[in-house]
Symmetry: none
Amino acid sequence: MLKILIVDDEKLIREVIKEYCEVENYQVFEAEDGNYALDIVRNNDINLIVLDIMMPKLDGYSTYKEIKKIRNIPTILLSARSEEYDKLLGFELGIDDYMTKPFSPKELIARIKAVTKRSNKEIESFIYKTLKVDFLAHTIEIDNKEIKVTPKEYEILTYFIKNKNIAISREQLLSAIWGYDFFGDDRTIDTHIKMLRNNLGKYRDLIVTVRALGYKFEIKD
Amino acid sequence: MLKILIVDDEKLIREVIKEYCEVENYQVFEAEDGNYALDIVRNNDINLIVLDIMMPKLDGYSTYKEIKKIRNIPTILLSARSEEYDKLLGFELGIDDYMTKPFSPKELIARIKAVTKRSNKEIESFIYKTLKVDFLAHTIEIDNKEIKVTPKEYEILTYFIKNKNIAISREQLLSAIWGYDFFGDDRTIDTHIKMLRNNLGKYRDLIVTVRALGYKFEIKD
DNA sequence: TATTTTTGTGAACTTTTAGTGAAAATTTTT
DNA sequence: AAAAATTTTCACTAAAAGTTCACAAAAATA
Protein backbone atom coordinates (compact mmCIF):
# COMPACT_ATOMS: atom_id res chain seq x y z
CA MET A 1 0.00 0.00 0.00
CA LEU A 2 1.21 3.48 -0.89
CA LYS A 3 2.38 5.57 2.04
CA ILE A 4 1.93 9.27 1.51
CA LEU A 5 3.17 12.08 3.67
CA ILE A 6 1.33 15.39 3.54
CA VAL A 7 3.23 18.39 4.79
CA ASP A 8 1.20 21.56 5.15
CA ASP A 9 0.61 23.99 7.97
CA GLU A 10 -3.08 24.37 7.13
CA LYS A 11 -5.04 21.65 8.79
CA LEU A 12 -7.95 21.99 6.38
CA ILE A 13 -5.77 21.28 3.38
CA ARG A 14 -4.28 18.24 5.02
CA GLU A 15 -7.71 16.93 5.90
CA VAL A 16 -9.05 17.33 2.41
CA ILE A 17 -6.09 15.66 0.78
CA LYS A 18 -6.18 12.91 3.35
CA GLU A 19 -9.80 12.21 2.65
CA TYR A 20 -9.19 11.84 -1.05
CA CYS A 21 -6.14 9.71 -0.50
CA GLU A 22 -8.04 7.37 1.72
CA VAL A 23 -10.62 6.84 -0.95
CA GLU A 24 -7.73 5.60 -3.08
CA ASN A 25 -6.61 3.38 -0.23
CA TYR A 26 -3.38 5.18 0.45
CA GLN A 27 -1.98 5.28 3.95
CA VAL A 28 -1.66 8.92 4.97
CA PHE A 29 0.85 10.57 7.29
CA GLU A 30 0.51 14.21 8.26
CA ALA A 31 3.04 16.79 9.29
CA GLU A 32 2.33 20.43 10.05
CA ASP A 33 5.86 21.60 9.47
CA GLY A 34 9.21 20.57 8.04
CA ASN A 35 10.65 19.30 11.29
CA TYR A 36 7.78 16.90 11.88
CA ALA A 37 8.09 15.84 8.26
CA LEU A 38 11.75 14.93 8.65
CA ASP A 39 10.89 12.91 11.71
CA ILE A 40 8.24 10.94 9.88
CA VAL A 41 10.46 10.33 6.88
CA ARG A 42 13.19 8.99 9.13
CA ASN A 43 10.87 6.53 10.83
CA ASN A 44 8.56 5.40 8.05
CA ASP A 45 8.91 3.98 4.62
CA ILE A 46 7.20 6.86 2.86
CA ASN A 47 6.61 6.42 -0.87
CA LEU A 48 5.54 9.90 -1.82
CA ILE A 49 5.47 13.36 -0.29
CA VAL A 50 3.06 16.20 -0.92
CA LEU A 51 4.85 19.27 0.31
CA ASP A 52 3.70 22.84 0.75
CA ILE A 53 6.34 25.44 0.02
CA MET A 54 5.10 28.20 2.28
CA MET A 55 5.37 27.04 5.85
CA PRO A 56 6.47 28.57 9.12
CA LYS A 57 9.57 27.17 10.84
CA LEU A 58 11.23 24.99 8.22
CA ASP A 59 9.99 26.06 4.78
CA GLY A 60 9.29 23.76 1.88
CA TYR A 61 12.49 24.29 -0.07
CA SER A 62 14.70 23.59 2.92
CA THR A 63 12.60 20.65 3.98
CA TYR A 64 12.86 19.24 0.52
CA LYS A 65 16.65 19.47 0.57
CA GLU A 66 16.86 17.88 3.99
CA ILE A 67 14.63 15.01 2.96
CA LYS A 68 16.77 14.38 -0.11
CA LYS A 69 19.72 13.91 2.23
CA ILE A 70 17.88 11.15 4.01
CA ARG A 71 16.36 9.39 1.06
CA ASN A 72 15.10 9.99 -2.45
CA ILE A 73 11.35 10.15 -2.32
CA PRO A 74 9.11 11.32 -5.14
CA THR A 75 7.70 14.69 -4.18
CA ILE A 76 4.88 16.87 -5.36
CA LEU A 77 5.29 20.50 -4.35
CA LEU A 78 2.39 22.80 -3.58
CA SER A 79 2.79 26.50 -4.02
CA ALA A 80 0.38 29.04 -2.66
CA ARG A 81 -0.08 31.24 -5.67
CA SER A 82 0.40 30.98 -9.34
CA GLU A 83 2.98 33.75 -9.19
CA GLU A 84 5.27 31.24 -7.60
CA TYR A 85 5.01 29.25 -10.75
CA ASP A 86 7.97 30.88 -12.44
CA LYS A 87 10.18 30.40 -9.44
CA LEU A 88 9.31 26.74 -9.41
CA LEU A 89 10.28 26.38 -13.02
CA GLY A 90 13.71 27.70 -12.20
CA PHE A 91 13.95 25.54 -9.14
CA GLU A 92 15.23 22.35 -10.62
CA LEU A 93 16.57 19.60 -8.44
CA GLY A 94 14.42 16.65 -9.13
CA ILE A 95 10.94 17.70 -8.14
CA ASP A 96 8.56 15.20 -9.60
CA ASP A 97 5.64 17.52 -9.96
CA TYR A 98 4.09 20.62 -8.51
CA MET A 99 0.72 22.28 -8.26
CA THR A 100 -0.53 25.70 -7.39
CA LYS A 101 -3.26 26.31 -4.85
CA PRO A 102 -6.10 26.20 -5.15
CA PHE A 103 -5.99 22.86 -6.85
CA SER A 104 -8.62 20.26 -7.48
CA PRO A 105 -8.34 17.12 -5.39
CA LYS A 106 -9.01 15.09 -8.48
CA GLU A 107 -5.99 16.56 -10.15
CA LEU A 108 -3.82 15.87 -7.15
CA ILE A 109 -4.84 12.23 -7.12
CA ALA A 110 -4.14 12.01 -10.82
CA ARG A 111 -0.69 13.44 -10.28
CA ILE A 112 0.05 11.16 -7.40
CA LYS A 113 -0.79 8.25 -9.61
CA ALA A 114 1.35 9.58 -12.40
CA VAL A 115 4.36 10.19 -10.19
CA THR A 116 4.28 6.83 -8.45
CA LYS A 117 3.76 5.06 -11.72
CA ARG A 118 6.72 6.88 -13.24
CA SER A 119 9.16 6.14 -10.47
CA ASN A 120 8.36 2.45 -10.55
CA LYS A 121 8.78 2.02 -14.23
CA GLU A 122 12.44 1.76 -14.96
CA ILE A 123 12.74 -1.74 -16.29
CA GLU A 124 15.91 -3.20 -17.68
CA SER A 125 14.49 -6.07 -19.63
CA PHE A 126 11.31 -7.66 -20.79
CA ILE A 127 10.82 -11.40 -20.90
CA TYR A 128 7.84 -13.31 -22.20
CA LYS A 129 8.28 -17.02 -22.75
CA THR A 130 11.37 -17.25 -24.95
CA LEU A 131 11.16 -13.67 -26.16
CA LYS A 132 13.66 -11.51 -24.37
CA VAL A 133 14.29 -7.82 -24.93
CA ASP A 134 17.28 -6.41 -23.12
CA PHE A 135 16.97 -2.64 -22.93
CA LEU A 136 20.51 -2.15 -21.72
CA ALA A 137 22.19 -4.38 -24.28
CA HIS A 138 19.69 -3.22 -26.88
CA THR A 139 19.11 -6.75 -28.08
CA ILE A 140 16.20 -9.02 -28.86
CA GLU A 141 16.35 -12.78 -28.39
CA ILE A 142 13.98 -15.53 -29.39
CA ASP A 143 14.77 -19.08 -28.29
CA ASN A 144 18.17 -17.89 -27.11
CA LYS A 145 19.03 -16.67 -30.54
CA GLU A 146 19.52 -13.01 -31.22
CA ILE A 147 17.32 -11.55 -33.90
CA LYS A 148 18.18 -8.43 -35.81
CA VAL A 149 15.70 -5.63 -36.31
CA THR A 150 16.12 -2.15 -37.70
CA PRO A 151 16.31 0.84 -35.34
CA LYS A 152 12.73 1.88 -36.07
CA GLU A 153 11.46 -1.58 -35.42
CA TYR A 154 13.35 -1.69 -32.15
CA GLU A 155 11.86 1.61 -31.10
CA ILE A 156 8.39 0.48 -31.96
CA LEU A 157 8.82 -2.77 -30.10
CA THR A 158 10.12 -1.11 -26.95
CA TYR A 159 7.35 1.45 -27.10
CA PHE A 160 4.87 -1.39 -27.34
CA ILE A 161 6.45 -3.18 -24.41
CA LYS A 162 6.34 -0.09 -22.24
CA ASN A 163 2.70 0.27 -23.16
CA LYS A 164 1.71 -3.35 -23.28
CA ASN A 165 -1.98 -4.12 -23.35
CA ILE A 166 -2.76 -0.56 -24.29
CA ALA A 167 -4.19 0.19 -27.69
CA ILE A 168 -1.96 2.69 -29.47
CA SER A 169 -3.25 4.89 -32.24
CA ARG A 170 -1.17 5.52 -35.33
CA GLU A 171 -0.95 9.18 -34.36
CA GLN A 172 0.34 8.26 -30.96
CA LEU A 173 3.00 6.01 -32.43
CA LEU A 174 3.99 8.66 -34.90
CA SER A 175 4.42 11.40 -32.35
CA ALA A 176 6.14 9.07 -29.90
CA ILE A 177 8.65 7.62 -32.32
CA TRP A 178 8.81 9.88 -35.34
CA GLY A 179 8.24 13.09 -33.42
CA TYR A 180 5.62 15.76 -33.70
CA ASP A 181 7.18 17.12 -36.86
CA PHE A 182 6.62 14.13 -39.07
CA PHE A 183 4.26 14.93 -41.87
CA GLY A 184 4.40 11.75 -43.87
CA ASP A 185 1.91 9.05 -44.53
CA ASP A 186 0.73 7.24 -41.42
CA ARG A 187 0.50 4.02 -43.38
CA THR A 188 4.26 3.95 -43.10
CA ILE A 189 3.62 2.47 -39.70
CA ASP A 190 1.84 -0.45 -41.26
CA THR A 191 4.92 -1.33 -43.22
CA HIS A 192 7.10 -1.24 -40.16
CA ILE A 193 4.59 -3.34 -38.28
CA LYS A 194 4.64 -5.83 -41.11
CA MET A 195 8.41 -6.14 -40.91
CA LEU A 196 8.45 -6.26 -37.15
CA ARG A 197 5.88 -9.02 -37.19
CA ASN A 198 7.96 -10.98 -39.65
CA ASN A 199 11.00 -10.58 -37.47
CA LEU A 200 9.10 -11.65 -34.39
CA GLY A 201 8.39 -14.98 -36.04
CA LYS A 202 6.22 -17.11 -33.79
CA TYR A 203 5.57 -14.11 -31.58
CA ARG A 204 4.13 -12.08 -34.44
CA ASP A 205 0.64 -12.35 -32.98
CA LEU A 206 1.63 -10.36 -29.92
CA ILE A 207 1.05 -7.35 -32.11
CA VAL A 208 -2.67 -7.26 -32.63
CA THR A 209 -4.30 -4.73 -34.88
CA VAL A 210 -6.97 -2.52 -33.40
CA ARG A 211 -9.11 -1.63 -36.29
CA ALA A 212 -9.77 2.05 -37.02
CA LEU A 213 -7.18 2.94 -34.40
CA GLY A 214 -3.80 1.29 -34.57
CA TYR A 215 -2.10 -1.56 -32.83
CA LYS A 216 -1.65 -3.15 -29.44
CA PHE A 217 1.05 -5.29 -27.89
CA GLU A 218 -0.99 -7.88 -26.10
CA ILE A 219 0.38 -10.05 -23.30
CA LYS A 220 -2.24 -12.14 -21.55
CA ASP A 221 -0.93 -12.47 -18.03
CA MET B 1 -10.35 20.84 -32.77
CA LEU B 2 -11.33 21.48 -29.17
CA LYS B 3 -14.66 23.23 -28.71
CA ILE B 4 -14.84 25.29 -25.58
CA LEU B 5 -17.84 27.01 -24.08
CA ILE B 6 -17.25 30.01 -21.86
CA VAL B 7 -20.09 30.95 -19.57
CA ASP B 8 -19.70 34.23 -17.74
CA ASP B 9 -21.87 37.31 -17.42
CA GLU B 10 -18.90 39.65 -17.71
CA LYS B 11 -18.16 40.32 -21.32
CA LEU B 12 -14.59 41.33 -20.61
CA ILE B 13 -13.78 38.01 -18.98
CA ARG B 14 -15.24 36.12 -21.90
CA GLU B 15 -13.28 38.19 -24.36
CA VAL B 16 -9.98 37.64 -22.60
CA ILE B 17 -10.45 33.93 -22.27
CA LYS B 18 -11.59 33.73 -25.85
CA GLU B 19 -8.51 35.48 -27.09
CA TYR B 20 -6.19 33.12 -25.30
CA CYS B 21 -8.16 30.10 -26.42
CA GLU B 22 -7.95 31.19 -30.00
CA VAL B 23 -4.20 31.41 -29.77
CA GLU B 24 -4.33 27.74 -28.87
CA ASN B 25 -6.60 27.10 -31.81
CA TYR B 26 -9.63 26.21 -29.79
CA GLN B 27 -13.05 26.98 -31.15
CA VAL B 28 -14.79 29.22 -28.66
CA PHE B 29 -18.49 29.51 -27.87
CA GLU B 30 -19.75 32.17 -25.52
CA ALA B 31 -22.77 32.36 -23.27
CA GLU B 32 -23.65 35.21 -20.94
CA ASP B 33 -25.90 33.16 -18.72
CA GLY B 34 -26.90 29.63 -17.91
CA ASN B 35 -29.83 29.50 -20.25
CA TYR B 36 -27.78 30.45 -23.27
CA ALA B 37 -25.22 27.90 -22.15
CA LEU B 38 -27.76 25.11 -22.11
CA ASP B 39 -28.85 26.05 -25.58
CA ILE B 40 -25.35 25.89 -26.91
CA VAL B 41 -24.62 22.58 -25.23
CA ARG B 42 -27.73 21.11 -26.76
CA ASN B 43 -26.77 22.14 -30.25
CA ASN B 44 -23.01 21.75 -30.34
CA ASP B 45 -20.55 19.06 -29.54
CA ILE B 46 -18.79 21.02 -26.81
CA ASN B 47 -15.68 19.38 -25.36
CA LEU B 48 -15.08 21.55 -22.34
CA ILE B 49 -16.90 24.22 -20.36
CA VAL B 50 -15.47 27.11 -18.38
CA LEU B 51 -18.25 28.14 -16.07
CA ASP B 52 -18.55 31.08 -13.71
CA ILE B 53 -20.41 30.36 -10.51
CA MET B 54 -21.76 33.82 -9.80
CA MET B 55 -24.21 34.74 -12.53
CA PRO B 56 -27.59 36.38 -12.71
CA LYS B 57 -30.57 34.34 -13.89
CA LEU B 58 -29.33 30.76 -13.82
CA ASP B 59 -26.32 30.50 -11.53
CA GLY B 60 -23.29 28.30 -12.10
CA TYR B 61 -24.23 25.45 -9.81
CA SER B 62 -27.67 25.07 -11.30
CA THR B 63 -26.36 25.39 -14.81
CA TYR B 64 -23.81 22.73 -14.07
CA LYS B 65 -26.45 20.33 -12.87
CA GLU B 66 -28.65 21.00 -15.88
CA ILE B 67 -25.80 20.41 -18.29
CA LYS B 68 -25.06 17.09 -16.64
CA LYS B 69 -28.56 16.03 -17.53
CA ILE B 70 -27.86 16.64 -21.20
CA ARG B 71 -24.38 15.28 -21.48
CA ASN B 72 -21.23 14.71 -19.51
CA ILE B 73 -18.77 17.45 -20.34
CA PRO B 74 -15.56 18.25 -18.47
CA THR B 75 -16.04 21.52 -16.63
CA ILE B 76 -13.78 24.08 -15.02
CA LEU B 77 -15.58 26.26 -12.51
CA LEU B 78 -14.63 29.86 -11.88
CA SER B 79 -15.36 31.34 -8.51
CA ALA B 80 -15.15 35.03 -7.74
CA ARG B 81 -13.10 34.92 -4.60
CA SER B 82 -10.78 32.56 -2.87
CA GLU B 83 -13.09 32.44 0.10
CA GLU B 84 -15.27 30.23 -2.03
CA TYR B 85 -12.48 27.73 -1.99
CA ASP B 86 -13.72 25.82 1.04
CA LYS B 87 -17.20 25.55 -0.34
CA LEU B 88 -15.84 24.15 -3.57
CA LEU B 89 -13.85 21.52 -1.77
CA GLY B 90 -17.02 20.23 -0.21
CA PHE B 91 -18.93 20.53 -3.45
CA GLU B 92 -18.36 17.19 -5.05
CA LEU B 93 -20.20 16.01 -8.09
CA GLY B 94 -17.57 15.55 -10.65
CA ILE B 95 -16.10 18.97 -11.21
CA ASP B 96 -12.90 18.53 -13.07
CA ASP B 97 -11.19 21.63 -11.85
CA TYR B 98 -11.83 25.13 -10.61
CA MET B 99 -10.06 28.43 -10.35
CA THR B 100 -10.54 31.54 -8.35
CA LYS B 101 -10.59 34.95 -9.92
CA PRO B 102 -8.40 36.75 -10.59
CA PHE B 103 -6.51 34.11 -12.52
CA SER B 104 -3.83 34.30 -15.11
CA PRO B 105 -4.87 33.33 -18.64
CA LYS B 106 -1.75 31.19 -18.79
CA GLU B 107 -2.93 29.21 -15.85
CA LEU B 108 -6.35 28.75 -17.35
CA ILE B 109 -4.88 27.40 -20.57
CA ALA B 110 -2.66 25.06 -18.58
CA ARG B 111 -5.69 23.77 -16.71
CA ILE B 112 -7.72 23.37 -19.85
CA LYS B 113 -4.97 21.23 -21.27
CA ALA B 114 -4.69 19.23 -18.08
CA VAL B 115 -8.42 18.62 -17.86
CA THR B 116 -8.87 17.56 -21.46
CA LYS B 117 -5.89 15.29 -21.24
CA ARG B 118 -7.17 13.75 -18.07
CA SER B 119 -10.75 13.36 -19.15
CA ASN B 120 -9.56 11.36 -22.10
CA LYS B 121 -7.52 9.13 -19.92
CA GLU B 122 -8.88 9.13 -16.45
CA ILE B 123 -11.55 6.54 -16.79
CA GLU B 124 -9.62 3.41 -17.49
CA SER B 125 -12.47 1.00 -17.36
CA PHE B 126 -16.15 0.54 -16.86
CA ILE B 127 -17.48 -2.44 -14.97
CA TYR B 128 -21.06 -3.50 -14.49
CA LYS B 129 -21.64 -7.01 -13.21
CA THR B 130 -19.64 -9.18 -15.59
CA LEU B 131 -19.52 -6.60 -18.34
CA LYS B 132 -16.16 -4.93 -18.47
CA VAL B 133 -15.00 -2.30 -20.91
CA ASP B 134 -11.30 -1.53 -20.78
CA PHE B 135 -10.69 1.82 -22.42
CA LEU B 136 -6.93 1.40 -22.46
CA ALA B 137 -6.85 -2.06 -23.93
CA HIS B 138 -9.83 -1.17 -26.10
CA THR B 139 -11.56 -4.38 -25.20
CA ILE B 140 -14.95 -5.56 -24.03
CA GLU B 141 -15.40 -8.56 -21.81
CA ILE B 142 -18.48 -10.45 -20.76
CA ASP B 143 -18.09 -13.25 -18.23
CA ASN B 144 -14.33 -12.94 -18.57
CA LYS B 145 -14.50 -13.62 -22.26
CA GLU B 146 -13.53 -11.00 -24.78
CA ILE B 147 -16.21 -10.09 -27.26
CA LYS B 148 -15.44 -8.50 -30.58
CA VAL B 149 -17.26 -5.45 -31.82
CA THR B 150 -16.64 -3.18 -34.79
CA PRO B 151 -15.07 0.26 -34.33
CA LYS B 152 -18.40 2.07 -34.66
CA GLU B 153 -20.02 -0.19 -32.14
CA TYR B 154 -17.16 0.39 -29.75
CA GLU B 155 -17.46 4.13 -30.16
CA ILE B 156 -21.17 4.02 -29.57
CA LEU B 157 -20.79 1.89 -26.49
CA THR B 158 -18.14 4.12 -24.96
CA TYR B 159 -20.21 7.18 -25.73
CA PHE B 160 -23.13 5.54 -23.99
CA ILE B 161 -21.01 4.70 -20.99
CA LYS B 162 -19.70 8.23 -20.69
CA ASN B 163 -23.28 9.42 -20.83
CA LYS B 164 -25.00 6.65 -18.97
CA ASN B 165 -28.57 7.19 -17.90
CA ILE B 166 -28.91 10.10 -20.27
CA ALA B 167 -31.24 9.78 -23.24
CA ILE B 168 -29.30 10.42 -26.44
CA SER B 169 -31.00 11.59 -29.59
CA ARG B 170 -30.01 10.18 -32.95
CA GLU B 171 -28.75 13.62 -33.96
CA GLN B 172 -26.55 13.76 -30.92
CA LEU B 173 -25.09 10.35 -31.61
CA LEU B 174 -24.52 11.26 -35.23
CA SER B 175 -22.70 14.47 -34.48
CA ALA B 176 -20.70 12.92 -31.67
CA ILE B 177 -19.58 9.81 -33.50
CA TRP B 178 -20.03 10.39 -37.20
CA GLY B 179 -19.18 14.07 -37.08
CA TYR B 180 -20.96 17.13 -38.29
CA ASP B 181 -20.31 16.26 -41.91
CA PHE B 182 -22.36 13.11 -42.09
CA PHE B 183 -25.33 13.48 -44.37
CA GLY B 184 -26.61 9.96 -44.46
CA ASP B 185 -29.68 8.30 -43.10
CA ASP B 186 -30.03 8.43 -39.34
CA ARG B 187 -31.59 5.01 -39.36
CA THR B 188 -28.07 3.76 -39.88
CA ILE B 189 -27.77 4.15 -36.14
CA ASP B 190 -30.53 1.64 -35.63
CA THR B 191 -28.56 -0.94 -37.50
CA HIS B 192 -25.49 -0.34 -35.40
CA ILE B 193 -27.56 -0.51 -32.26
CA LYS B 194 -28.97 -3.80 -33.42
CA MET B 195 -25.50 -5.23 -33.92
CA LEU B 196 -24.25 -3.83 -30.66
CA ARG B 197 -27.19 -5.32 -28.80
CA ASN B 198 -26.54 -8.69 -30.36
CA ASN B 199 -22.91 -8.51 -29.36
CA LEU B 200 -23.81 -7.50 -25.82
CA GLY B 201 -25.71 -10.75 -25.42
CA LYS B 202 -27.35 -10.88 -22.02
CA TYR B 203 -26.56 -7.22 -21.51
CA ARG B 204 -28.48 -6.18 -24.61
CA ASP B 205 -31.20 -4.60 -22.50
CA LEU B 206 -28.82 -2.00 -21.11
CA ILE B 207 -29.52 -0.18 -24.33
CA VAL B 208 -33.10 0.93 -24.03
CA THR B 209 -34.86 2.66 -26.87
CA VAL B 210 -36.31 6.06 -26.14
CA ARG B 211 -39.15 6.33 -28.53
CA ALA B 212 -39.26 9.33 -30.88
CA LEU B 213 -35.78 10.33 -29.70
CA GLY B 214 -33.05 7.75 -29.67
CA TYR B 215 -31.48 5.50 -27.11
CA LYS B 216 -30.25 5.40 -23.56
CA PHE B 217 -27.66 3.31 -21.78
CA GLU B 218 -29.39 2.54 -18.55
CA ILE B 219 -27.54 1.42 -15.45
CA LYS B 220 -29.59 1.15 -12.30
CA ASP B 221 -27.11 1.85 -9.53
C1' DT C 1 -60.17 -1.73 -33.59
C1' DA C 2 -58.04 0.53 -37.42
C1' DT C 3 -54.53 3.59 -38.74
C1' DT C 4 -50.29 5.80 -38.39
C1' DT C 5 -45.76 6.26 -36.70
C1' DT C 6 -41.66 4.40 -35.16
C1' DT C 7 -38.33 0.79 -34.39
C1' DG C 8 -36.23 -4.00 -35.28
C1' DT C 9 -34.01 -6.75 -38.55
C1' DG C 10 -32.06 -9.54 -42.47
C1' DA C 11 -29.89 -9.02 -46.64
C1' DA C 12 -27.84 -6.62 -50.54
C1' DC C 13 -24.72 -3.34 -51.61
C1' DT C 14 -20.90 0.17 -50.99
C1' DT C 15 -17.03 2.00 -48.73
C1' DT C 16 -13.15 1.82 -45.78
C1' DT C 17 -9.23 -0.29 -43.89
C1' DA C 18 -5.21 -3.13 -43.23
C1' DG C 19 -1.81 -6.54 -45.23
C1' DT C 20 1.48 -6.87 -48.59
C1' DG C 21 5.15 -6.82 -52.22
C1' DA C 22 7.68 -3.89 -54.91
C1' DA C 23 9.91 0.19 -55.95
C1' DA C 24 11.61 4.75 -54.91
C1' DA C 25 13.94 7.73 -51.72
C1' DT C 26 16.90 8.41 -48.04
C1' DT C 27 20.50 7.44 -44.78
C1' DT C 28 24.41 4.89 -43.25
C1' DT C 29 28.32 2.18 -43.98
C1' DT C 30 32.11 0.65 -46.53
C1' DA D 1 31.48 7.29 -54.54
C1' DA D 2 29.50 3.02 -54.40
C1' DA D 3 27.14 -0.31 -51.88
C1' DA D 4 24.23 -1.65 -48.35
C1' DA D 5 20.78 -0.93 -45.22
C1' DT D 6 16.87 1.35 -43.91
C1' DT D 7 12.87 4.12 -44.46
C1' DT D 8 9.02 5.68 -47.01
C1' DT D 9 5.63 5.67 -50.57
C1' DC D 10 2.41 3.43 -53.36
C1' DA D 11 -0.81 0.45 -55.65
C1' DC D 12 -3.35 -3.60 -55.37
C1' DT D 13 -6.17 -6.98 -52.90
C1' DA D 14 -8.91 -9.24 -49.49
C1' DA D 15 -11.38 -8.67 -45.62
C1' DA D 16 -13.90 -6.01 -42.58
C1' DA D 17 -17.02 -2.58 -41.66
C1' DG D 18 -20.60 0.71 -42.85
C1' DT D 19 -24.84 1.98 -45.24
C1' DT D 20 -29.15 1.52 -47.35
C1' DC D 21 -33.46 -0.52 -47.97
C1' DA D 22 -37.65 -3.15 -47.64
C1' DC D 23 -40.56 -5.37 -44.82
C1' DA D 24 -41.96 -7.06 -40.21
C1' DA D 25 -43.01 -5.95 -35.56
C1' DA D 26 -44.26 -2.97 -32.00
C1' DA D 27 -46.06 1.13 -30.03
C1' DA D 28 -48.78 5.23 -30.18
C1' DT D 29 -52.82 7.53 -31.78
C1' DA D 30 -57.31 8.21 -33.59
